[in-house]
Symmetry: C2
Subunit: 200 residues, 2 copies
Amino acid sequence: MTGTSKDTHTRDTRQRILTAGTELFRRRGYTGTGMKQIAEDAGAPFGSIYHFFPGGKEQLGEEVIRTSGAVYLGLITTLMEPYTDPVAATHDAFTAAADTLSELDFADPCPIATVALEVASTNDTLRRAASDVFARWIDGLGAYYAAAGVPGPAARETAGSVIALLEGAFMLGRTARSTAPVLAAGTAAAAVVRAALDEG
Amino acid sequence: MTGTSKDTHTRDTRQRILTAGTELFRRRGYTGTGMKQIAEDAGAPFGSIYHFFPGGKEQLGEEVIRTSGAVYLGLITTLMEPYTDPVAATHDAFTAAADTLSELDFADPCPIATVALEVASTNDTLRRAASDVFARWIDGLGAYYAAAGVPGPAARETAGSVIALLEGAFMLGRTARSTAPVLAAGTAAAAVVRAALDEG
DNA sequence: GTCTATATCTTGATAGAC
DNA sequence: GTCTATCAAGATATAGAC
């Protein structure tokens, strides 16, 4: 009994730190977020961060990238699966993304974009983590397009371009505080998928 | 005589600080770059930064965003102008961008992308500066597409999606240390422009 | 395991000699 | 206008009481 509640509480504290880190990193960036602020937001004592993440900020950063990347992969899959038409699925996914963007009051809808750019030339451990996450997203979406009829290597390339379009549109939309770039990107993404289907 | 050489030297120091800030911000981000490091890279005494930029880091950041944004706008224009076919022009521009990316050893080829994401939710002055820059790029490219035959508001929307595609592909390419996402995005961008032309 | 206090370093910014 | 010394506040990280 005592053991169980203790373990549960332990996991909760660790999880709260991870959650707070995820929220802060995506909004304020990696270098722009302090460990003290993470502890405060998590409602955890400062020392607990180093208890659960002995590798310090870098370990926490890597874990945030990988775990939130996995969550997002599930989101992509769930969003596309109900559709039989990949063009409509792609277009509607961008419309949903635009809604999310405004609901978040233009805070970062992508959990790793800001950090990915920050660390790309400064921290190879975190750069690789972000690279792995992007690769899995593209693999997952590419498999969907392949199953939907996009032939050969074009399926994965199409997926990469759709992800690029989404990330770039988020950048423009956040900066301008407008959903218009994301909605326009949805039309463009649909055209990209349609063109890839026509090639086969 | 004395006045001339003095003014020249003054402008040079200011310019060197601006140049160093541009290079550092784009590679290490806004919060990840220190004022002391900017002074060191510029070969200027630390105090000179606050002499020329009394508004401190924020003023320097804003000036970096706006001036490098203007330079980049010229680059876009120069790159597209020689072409009569907007589809080929767009595709070749991405190929050139991929070359630039590998020449820079995957350091940030876009002067404001990293900073734009960092400040989007944390600094409204810099967010607006980045927003203005993106808007001018999209205006410029949109005018080109309009002249090339893309009808009505679709011209500007197409331009926005092409810029989004480029920024997103830079993000994926930098993170993976590969030009493949940029090359794939070039094919996708060409398809987007072709679709926009066919609508008219 | 929790929590506090502190060590050490770096940050942005300022004061003042020259 | 140049340059140095310094400030106060922030950062990451650690030590040690409980």
